[in-house]
Amino acid sequence: MFVPRHGGIISAMSFKVLMAAAITALAGMVFVVSAGAGPLPDRLSDTGLFVEGSTSEVRAGVLSFTPQYPLWSDGAIKRRWIYLPPGTFIDASRPSAWEFPRGTRLWKEFRLERRVETRFIERLADGSWRYATYIWSEDGQDAVLASGEGIASLTLNGTEPRQYSIPSELDCRACHEGPAVPVLGFSALQLSSDRDPLAVHAESLRADDVDLRKLIERGLVRNLPTSLIKTPPRISAASPTERAALGYLHGNCGQCHTNSSDASVPVDLQLAQDVTDPASTEKVLQSLRSSSSQFRLPGTTAAVPLVSPGASHNSALLIRMRSRDASVQMPPLGTAIPDSEGLALIARWIDQDKNPSTSRE
């Protein structure tokens, strides 16, 4: 992201620009803690993830899980855990918007050459959610609570030094507060035991991972419609490539592109799957056909269609996934490196697979 630097042509009539740039340095350090909750622990080791005195051994009762369609995070290796207070369970009566008990905690660890960051979400007693992230020390001893302002560019040393961005609290909310429930990777579709073998960056289940079946068996997920228990959720698609492509779009884009009435996402695009709706795939394909794209290449006035069947190079979906120009890129945050495998899958789907704009007319 750009920091304004105005050593530029500043005239008397615009000195406030200079002022604005100067004030960048004074940008607020406001980190709102929800009313009624104690402050966030300063150290990850005090959030209840690990057994006392350890920063690697996960506490009993903290469950590990692996969604089938992971979000692209610039190649970071991720691990995820959930904790539900004793005696509580997730109410899945709304299968696409699970109700998590108060006191639910989730962690997501990001590892490059070493552990870099562990993000933390917690549901408080008043029903609200809070978001934080902990940055690991270089020696891996512990991770320390990051400022709610985030860090635009953290330098990571190692054999391949790189810049890494720590999200601000508002960045957390930008992605997590789009859907009805802010927990994104822990859902009926993501934890389904009918896992997609072609999912991009698929991680195999770990021995101690919980999936939908285990959660139901242990009574930790209740009230899921029996049809979804009998037949684990799966994206309906005309081909295996399409299934993986729609899964990728669900996992990476569906948190914002829900085609809700939400004015904060100006394109009427639905990329999220709804496990209760048999027409879910059709709705996604339909919205890719009919949503109006505002996207224009520089110097041109005609909008590039979202998907041009057979022509991924002329599809805003792919152009914006590939771009890392801040004004163009999708997703707009959380990534600085395009996902070559994801791009290849979506390009194959648009170019070769069943023509997405006519296959279901």
């Binding site: 940008a27 789009g178 996207f295």
Partner: protein, 188 residues
């Protein structure tokens, strides 16, 4: 000039933060006051040449960069501390971030903030992202300062902006910095 800027720097946030909560009745007039002293017009109302030099064209109040004003390619500047250029209207800005065009803040539903909710407006200013979730808002929009406004102040500013005359003006999308060469896009 530095000292002018410095004193402004201290006075504006003080005023904005300390004037307290307006009653519902004068929320709009307080919003008008805040928009005035926070200088939104400086960038969002195009300048025209008047008898005494450049002055804001209030017939186009807060409607952003005029769509009819097609800008030629921004001048390339020699290496050194001069980094940015701006249009005579004060509505188009070229710098290391590419070219940005000031937004239409009038309540026109198609091209301005007519469809925005208060939440969209607050999220945009607080996060520095289009609608709180999209692309980063580019310089020189003074997000780092405005995001420190109180809720009441942001509410007043938005309430006022929704009362001003709607002007249909589709502001161009920002252009990327020359090096990246990719497209730019926004959706209003």
């Amino acid at each position: 000039m530095k000292s002018v800027a410095a004193s402004f720097l201290m006075i504006v946030p003080a005023y904005v933060l300390m004037l307290g909560v307006a009653t519902a009745d004068d929320q709009v007039s307080r919003g008008k006051y805040l928009v005035t002293i926070a200088a939104c017009n400086d960038c969002h109302t195009p300048l025209k040449l008047g008898p005494k030099g450049p002055e804001p064209d209030m017939s186009l109040m807060l409607s952003g960069h005029p769509e009819s004003l097609q800008m030629p390619t921004a001048p390339s500047l020699p290496p050194g501390p001069w980094t940015s250029s701006f249009a005579a209207t004060n509505t188009a800005w070229a710098g290391p971030w590419g070219v940005s065009f000031t937004a239409n803040l009038t309540p026109d539903p198609e091209t301005g903030l007519g469809r925005w909710t208060l939440r969209n407006f607050k999220d945009t200013i607080r996060s520095g992202r289009h609608l709180g979730r999209g692309r980063p808002i580019l310089p020189p929009m003074p997000i780092p300062m405005y995001k420190q406004m109180t809720d009441a102040d942001l509410e007043a500013v938005f309430a006022y902006l929704q009362t001003i005359p709607a002007i249909s003006n589709r502001v161009p999308q920002p252009l990327p910095p020359p090096a990246t060469g990719t497209a730019a896009a926004t959706e209003h």
